[in-house]
Symmetry: C2
C-alpha cells in the first residue's frame, strides 16, 4: 500500500515538474504562520537542552558496543513513546566493539613524567609491559618520508598543528601506517584540536593491509610541543607506551527511531537526526547527543502542535557513527523501499545555528533556499551548496537530497572527542534554535504540496 501511494505521488510530482518553475515564494508565504508557531514553541523554553542534559547525565558517553549506549537507546524509545511518536522502534545493527582498557604514556628519559594520552579508536594494544623507545618527532608525513631511516625502532610523534579537521585528521587515521612503514614501533599524534587545556582527543584510526600494525595514541598539544622542543634542543627522549586496547567481536546495537506518519504520502519520508553513539570520553553532548535531541525535539514539537505533514517525518538516532558508520549504512539498506524526500543530519554541534549545507539539484536548492527565509527571524536560514552528514551518506548515494545543519563552529573542535565534550559547553537558547531550525525545514519539506525534486 505504501508502495502504491509512492507511485501515485511520483506521478503527481512528475506532472508538477513539467509545469513552469514552482513559485517557491508561495511556499514560504503559505508556511510562515506554521513556521512561526514551531519557532515560538521551541524557543520559548529550554526543553531541548533539558532533555539533552538528562540523556547525557543519565548515561554518560555511549561508545559503540557499550551497555550505556544500549541503555540510552532504550530510554529514548521509552521517551519517544511518552511523546506520542509513532512506529517507535530500534533496528538492530552489528557494530564494532573496541575497548580502550588501561593505558598510559610515560616520559622515561630525560626526566620521568606521566603524559596525558588517549589511545585512538581501533588501535591495537602494545605488547605486555609496553613499548619503550626513543622518540622521533616530525611535523608532517613529508618530513617522516625524508627522515624515514631515523624512524626504525622509534616511537614517532606527529606534531602537526591544527589547520582544519579534514587536513589534520589524516595523521590520526593514517599516522600508524606511515610510521610503521618506516619501521617505527609505535606512533603518537598531537591531538586534533586548535585549542588545548591539556586535553587529549581520541577518534577513529585505521590500519592498512600489508603494513605492520603498531599502537597509535593521541597526546595533548602542550606535551606534543614540549617533546618537540626537547628533541630540537638535542635532548634524548625515551617514552614508555602501554595500551591494553582490544577489538572484541561485533556487538548488537540499534538505530533508534520514531515518526509522525504522513497524512497523504506515508511512505515518502523526511528523515532527520544525528548519531546516538559517542566516543568513550566526556558526555558526547555535542557529538552527537545534541544532534539527536534537536531532531527529536523538532518532531516532538510537530506532534505537540498537532501538525501532521503530508509526508512522514522520522527522527533517527543512528548508531556507531564514530566506529565506521554501520548504522547509517544499515538504515539506508533497511529503508531502501521507501522514498526519502530529504535526509537531514546535525553532527557539527548544536551551537548557534546558521542554516544548512544542502546537496541536491538546482531546483531543489531553490526551494530549500526559499524555505530558509522562514528562518530569517532566528538567523538560521542561510542555505549553502554542499552538505550532508556521515550517517546520511549512504542514503545520499542513492540520490536522496541531503543536508547538514550548519552552526557557529568556533569551538566545536576544542571539545570534539575529548573529556570536555560535556553539556555545560552548550547554550540552552542555541540548542532550542537548532531544534527550531530543523523543525521548520523538515516540516515544510514534508508537508509542501510539491515534492522536493531530486
Amino acid at each position: 500500500m505504501k508502495r502504491t501511494a509512492h507511485l501515485l505521488s511520483s506521478l503527481v510530482f512528475t506532472g508538477l515538474l513539467m509545469s513552469p518553475p514552482v513559485e517557491t515564494q508561495e511556499i514560504a508565504n503559505a508556511y510562515r504562520q506554521t513556521a512561526d508557531r514551531l519557532i515560538d514553541a521551541l524557543t520559548e523554553n529550554h526543553d531541548a537542552y533539558e532533555r539533552l542534559t538528562e540523556l547525557v547525565d543519565l548515561f554518560g558517553h555511549r561508545v559503540s558496543g557499550s551497555v550505556a549506549l544500549e541503555q540510552a537507546i532504550d530510554w529514548i524509545m521509552d521517551e519517544m513513546q511518552v511523546d506520542g511518536l509513532e512506529n517507535v522502534h530500534g533496528e538492530t545493527v552489528m557494530v564494532p566493539h573496541w575497548v580502550r582498557g588501561e593505558e598510559s604514556l610515560q616520559m622515561v628519559l630525560p626526566r620521568p613524567r606521566n603524559l596525558r594520552m588517549l589511545g585512538l579508536g581501533g588501535s591495537i594494544a602494545t605488547p605486555p609491559g609496553g613499548v619503550r623507545a626513543e622518540l622521533m618527532v616530525v611535523s608532517s608525513f613529508a618530513e617522516l618520508e625524508r627522515r624515514a631511516e631515523e624512524a626504525r625502532g622509534r616511537i614517532v610523534l606527529f606534531d602537526v598543528p591544527f589547520t582544519n579537521y579534514g587536513q589534520t585528521v589524516a595523521y590520526r587515521t593514517g599516522g600508524a601506517t606511515a610510521a610503521a612503514r618506516a619501521g617505527a614501533v609505535a606512533s603518537l599524534i598531537r591531538s586534533v584540536t586548535p585549542y588545548s587545556q591539556q586535553t587529549p582527543h581520541t577518534g577513529q584510526m585505521s590500519y592498512e593491509e600489508g603494513t605492520p600494525r603498531i599502537a597509535h595514541a593521541a597526546i595533548t598539544v602542550e606535551d606534543a610541543e614540549l617533546l618537540h622542543r626537547m628533541v630540537d634542543r638535542g635532548e634524548r627522549v625515551e617514552l614508555l607506551l602501554e595500551m591494553n586496547a582490544q577489538m572484541l567481536p561485533d556487538a548488537p546495537s540499534r538505530n533508534v527511531m520514531g515518526e509522525i506518519v504522513g497524512s497523504e504520502y506515508p511512505d515518502e519520508v523526511v528523515v532527520l537526526g544525528g548519531h546516538i553513539d559517542s566516543w568513550d570520553v566526556g558526555q558526547g553532548a555535542m557529538d552527537d547527543a545534541g544532534g539527536v535531541v534537536a531532531a527529536w525535539e523538532a518532531v516532538r514539537m510537530m506532534k505537540d502542535l498537532g501538525l501532521r505533514p503530508r509526508r512522514t517525518v522520522r527522527v533517527v538516532g543512528w548508531t556507531s557513527e564514530e566506529n565506521g558508520g554501520p548504522g547509517g549504512r544499515a538504515y539506508a539498506e533497511a529503508h531502501a523501499d521507501e522514498y526519502h524526500v530529504l535526509a537531514m543530519e546535525s553532527d557539527a554541534g548544536v551551537f548557534e545555528p546558521q542554516g544548512f549545507g544542502f546537496t541536491g539539484s538546482e531546483e531543489a536548492f531553490g526551494m530549500i533556499t526559499e524555505i530558509g527565509t522562514l528562518l530569517t527571524r532566528i538567523h538560521s536560514g542561510v542555505i549553502s551548496r554542499g552538505g550532508g552528514g556521515a550517517d546520511i551518506t549512504a542514503l545520499m548515494e542513492t540520490g536522496v537530497p541531503g543536508m547538514g545543519l550548519q552552526v557557529d563552529g568556533t569551538r566545536y573542535f576544542w571539545y570534539h572527542h575529548s573529556d570536555a565534550d560535556t553539556i555545560d559547553k552548550l547554550d540552552p537558547d542555541e540548542v532550542a534554535r537548532c531544534a527550531a531550525t530543523m523543525a521548520v525545514m523538515a516540516y515544510v519539506v514534508a508537508d509542501m504540496p510539491v515534492r522536493l525534486p531530486r
Copy 2:
C-alpha cells in the same frame, strides 16, 4: 657607606621636593630616546620568550620545597652571571613544604566513575582508605549555613561559579573550615576558574584554630555542575575521597637576585620581579616564571645596552609566594637598610601589557603617569591607581611605592594553578612587550634626577 649615600640623596631629594612641582613632562622628553632603545631592543626578538621556555621546559613546575625549584634557582643564578648582572646571589628563606602525594576521587553511587581532582595546598590527608560519604552540594556559604544540619557526616561540595578571583577564592581558602563547622567529613570546591576543559585548579587553603581539619580538594567545573544536577534530580551520590597529602618540615629555599648597581645612589633601589615558585602542576609559565623572566630580561637589556642608572636596579625571583609568601617578607626584612624607591611586580601573567596599577603618593602618581607616556607606542602606558603584588606587600607596608604590571586578563584564570599553565599559552611578542614595559618604567625611575617621592 651605602647608608651615607642614602642620607645624602635624601637631602637632595628633600630639596627638590621643596621646589615647585616637578616638570614631569621634561622627564618623559629626556628619556624618550633611551626608552625607545629599550623597547626596540626588547621587542625586535623573542629572547624573553625563549629564556622563559627554557626555564619552564628544563625544570617544569617549581613548588615550594621541591628540588626543581632549587635547581631552577641555581640555573637562574648561573645565567644571570653569564648576563653580567652584579651581586648575583640567593638569600635563604625557610619555606612551607607541602606534598600532594597520591590522591583520587571516585563517584561510588549511583554510577562508578573517577572524577578529576586536585587536593588544595595545605590540606591534610584523608584517613587511610579515604573518606566515603554522601554528597551535599551548596551554592554558597549562606546556603551551607541555612542547611547546616544536613551537612553532618557528608562531603560538602561548594559549586560556586566564578565571578572574580577575590570573591570566588574564598571557597578555596575557607571552604574546609565552613564545612567542618557544620560537621562535614571532607569538602570539595568547584575549581576557581571561569572556563574549563575538565581541568582542576589547585591553590592554597587554610584551616582555622579550634575547628576540625578536614581534607579539601578541587574538582572540575564540569563535574561540579554534573554532581549538582544529579543531587537536584534526587539522586543519592556517594563519593570516596582519598588524599595522602603531607605537610613536611619547612625547607630551605632562596630569593634569587641580580642587579645593576646604581652609578650615583647605589643603595637606592628599584626592585622588580615575580615569584619563582609555582604550584605543583603545569609549568607555572604564567604564574609566575613569566613575571620573573620579564623583569630579568628588562634588567639584562639595560646591561646589554650599557645603561647604568643613577640608582640600583635589582631583579628578584621571590620564593614561595604560593605557600604564604615568606620570600617577600624575608626580602623586606633583609633589605630594610636600603632605600627602596619603587617595587614592581608582575604576577598576573605576561599577556598583552596595558600598563601598571600604582600605589603611592599623588605626586609620585603624576610622575609615573608621565613616564607611562614613553610606553604609548606599545600601548602599555596606562597607569591606574592601586596596585602592587603579593611579594612586594611587605615592602609597601614600610612606605615603598609599589606597582603591578597590568595585562590583558581575559584568559589568566583559565590556566591559573592548573596543568594548563604552560608556555604555549603565551605569545612571544606579548612577553617581549611586558619586558619592555617593565624595563622603561624601572630604568627611568632608577635614573631620573629626582627621586620618586613617597
